[in-house]
């Protein structure tokens, strides 16, 4: 588009953060990294579902195969793994709820001419995000206690 005759000759160095940017992109406060977490938990859950279905497939082998699998899966390592999956789910579900609301423009407030120093809607409504995180922490704790006892 730009008419510079020589711009096709691409001598410019690409400089995208790429997937690196999920891990560390700079001094952002919260939502930028919640995005990463949402994505990781989403992918984690998808992976888990696949494994879960494979494990369930042993049902086809009848009661013994099933019981064996369940026994195999009851060792502490898998228990921890299971807890992580539940934790991922709780985070993904609650954060997902927030995202659905906010993607559709709810809870963000109305546009209004900004007054310096500028605060954008996400930060103005950060209490909502923090409340979501608090509920999440409580749930995680509850499930942890439930599992341990």
């Amino acid at each position: 588009m730009a008419g510079k005759p020589a711009s096709e000759e691409n001598r410019h160095l690409p400089n995208s953060l790429g997937i690196r940017g999920w891990v560390w992109a700079g001094r952002y406060t919260l939502e930028r990294y919640l995005f990463t977490l949402h994505r990781l938990t989403g992918l984690g859950l998808l992976a888990y579902i696949t494994l879960h279905l494979i494990a369930n497939g042993t049902r086809l082998g009848g009661e013994d195969a099933w019981t064996n699998t369940m026994e195999f899966l009851s060792n502490p390592g898998f228990r921890v793994g299971e807890y992580l999956v539940v934790a991922a789910f709780i985070f993904h579900a609650l954060n997902g709820g927030r995202l659905i609301l906010q993607h559709l423009g709810f809870t963000l407030g109305k546009p209004k001419p900004p007054v310096y120093p500028y605060v954008d809607s996400m930060r103005r409504r950060r209490p909502i995000t923090l409340a979501m995180l608090a509920v999440m922490a409580a749930l995680l704790l509850y499930v942890l206690i439930e599992i341990v006892t």
Partner: protein, 570 residues
């Protein structure tokens, strides 16, 4: 390398963008239009304009075209061409509406109609504004509108180095694409010059760093005369120490100017208009206060007075003046809601420029000029606030249309002898070999700026100007020997600084010479050795023609078709 277009537009400020949109529009997107700018199109200096754009929008409430014309003529200290003023006041309301229809967020009154605010030298509140970012919103509205047109080629960040004229007819421009390093010729049937002003030759200025008068200097060297260059406007409220502008709107909204005794000193100088007197008068008043010891002093010599907005209250400041509040907090650590702002007069606008007729046509066939780079003689010896953005819009439209119609009527583009381009390329990149030159371009520029600030500022006199002329000529010699350490062709801002400095020095010479010759005080040109206006000898325009030895001055008459000069008092 060579590129051919129908209409070439040099500069993408308000005037350039308006011309580009108009050219594309009148030709129904049929003409091939190029827009060339040394910055990315939308970064042009015009984004800095803050206060407003003057137009008669409320004739029902007492304003009239005649009144706007009278204000402009009187503000110009009777050096404006009055036929030009007439055209201007008739056209500018149309531009306000046009921008409104293209989406600009003009500030509104409660009834939903376009609001206007008072401005210096205007007898009616007729500065149409969009908060205090008028130029910014105008630029972005025009830039956005330009995106509609398919056949506009943009040359972002192409530094134009010369305008080629052959036998009194336009041929092309040579340009250096900063991002790729390419040097090439852009040919066209018509050229629109809208390359902005030249106040970067002053150190304390409201200007963007990129507004260095290249357009004027190139046109001047191509043989086009520069008109009325000695008239440089100083804006009363430049933020100390950077020079960044605090809009006249701040006074329009009711801000006070206060000296170190706590007095509203404008009472003494313009009792009827107070802070909203024309800029030349307010600037002189401030300087007088400072010179007579009623300013606040600073170790670096940038003594100042106070602009006090506190009585306006937080709401009004946040609603009407958000940008200057932001700027004052960021760059001077002062919140105008709580403290007065330190300000002093700053170089702000070139009334002079490339001579054009009332249609924006220059003496060279195929070249039009508009905006601050041109001198159509609307502002005379002193521009009224808010008249410049309006001028950019009005003449941007006129020259865009004229250039497009000319290009549509004209057959082919004349060939350009290749050696002229090679010569120019050698001149340009020849500097790059100069690694061991003995002069430092940044020092030379700083010397020029200090000189202009000191000797060619608000108050001028014969001996100071003589000394300035000598010094400018010395700098002109010395700049030939600068070193360019950077050897790359890509984004070599070291070389850019050299080209800019050469341009500024050439223009400084025309200013100093014109000021020296003009033995009177008129508008922004105020000589302590000739304190009065001399209507008999000096109601005429200065023209500066290029010659290798230095500018040759000629004079032309002023169009007086409405009011004879009378004493100017506020």
């Amino acid at each position: 390398m060579e590129a051919v277009h129908d209409v070439v537009i040099l500069g993408s400020g308000l005037a350039g963008l308006r011309a580009a949109v108009e050219a594309a529009r009148v030709s129904n997107d049929e003409l091939d239009i190029a827009i060339v700018s040394r910055v990315q199109l939308v970064r042009s200096h015009s984004v800095c304009a803050e206060g407003g754009t003057a137009a008669v929008m409320q004739p029902e409430e007492g304003d009239s075209l005649e009144l706007h014309a009278w204000d402009t003529v009187r503000g110009s200290d009777f050096l404006a061409d009055q036929d030009v003023v007439k055209r201007f006041v008739e056209e500018s309301p149309k531009e306000i509406l046009q921008l409104e229809h293209w989406g600009i967020p003009w500030s509104r009154r409660h009834d939903g109609r376009i609001n206007q605010r008072p401005f210096g030298g205007h007898s009616f509140d007729r500065a149409t504004f969009a908060e205090d970012k008028t130029g910014f919103f105008e630029m972005h509205t025009l830039y956005d509108t330009l995106q509609k047109f398919a056949r506009v080629t943009r040359y972002d960040e192409c530094y134009v180095t010369s305008i080629l004229v052959d036998n009194g007819v336009f041929q092309g421009i040579t340009a250096w694409a900063l991002t790729s390093g390419e040097f090439f010729l852009i040919k066209g049937k018509a050229l629109v010059i809208a390359a902005g002003g030249a106040c970067r030759m002053f150190a304390f200025t409201t200007y963007s760093l990129s507004a260095t008068g290249d357009g004027m200097a190139m046109a001047y060297r191509a043989g086009l005369p520069l008109k009325d260059m000695e008239f440089v406007q100083f804006h009363p409220t430049g933020l100390v120490p950077s020079g960044i502008l605090i809009t006249e709107g701040a006074r329009g909204e009711g801000g006070y100017l206060i000296n170190n005794k706590g007095e509203r000193f404008m009472e003494k100088y313009a009792p009827s208009k107070m802070e909203t007197a024309p800029r030349d008068i307010v600037s002189r008043s401030e300087m007088t206060e400072i010179l007579e010891g009623r300013g606040f002093s600073r170790p670096d010599g940038l003594d100042y007075v106070h602009l006090d907005l506190r009585h306006l209250g937080a709401d009004r400041i946040n609603e009407r003046l958000p940008l200057i509040r932001e700027v004052a907090i960021k760059l001077a650590s002062i919140d105008p809601i709580e403290k007065p702002i330190p300000i002093r007069p700053a170089a702000h606008y070139c009334m002079g420029g490339i001579r054009t007729d009332i249609d924006g046509a220059t003496p060279v066939e195929g070249i039009w000029a508009g905006g601050e780079v041109a001198c159509v003689s609307l502002h005379g010896a002193n521009r009224l606030g808010a008249n410049s953005t309006a001028e950019c819009l009005v003449w941007g439209k006129i020259i865009g249309e004229k250039a497009a119609r000319y290009a549509m009527a004209r057959g082919s583009v004349a060939p350009t002898p290749p050696q002229r381009i090679q010569e120019e390329e050698r001149r340009l990149f020849g500097w790059i070999g100069h690694g061991n030159g003995k002069e430092d371009v940044f020092l030379i520029r700083a010397e020029l700026q200090r000189l202009m600030d000191k000797n060619v500022s608000i108050y001028r006199n014969g001996p100071d100007l003589e000394a300035a002329l000598k010094k400018v000529r010395e700098l002109k010699q010395r700049v030939e020997h600068v070193r360019v350490v950077d050897t790359s062709r890509i984004y070599n801002t070291n070389l850019v600084a050299v080209l800019e400095t050469i341009n500024l020095i050439d223009l400084a010479e025309t200013i100093v010479l014109g000021a020296l010759a003009r033995t009177e005080s008129r508008g922004a040109h105020s000589r302590t050795d000739f304190p009065d206006r001399d209507d008999v000898n000096w109601t005429r325009h200065t023209l500066a023609y290029y010659s290798p030895e230095g500018p040759r001055l000629e004079y032309s008459s002023v169009n007086i078709s409405m009011w004879q000069p009378v004493e100017r008092k506020y």
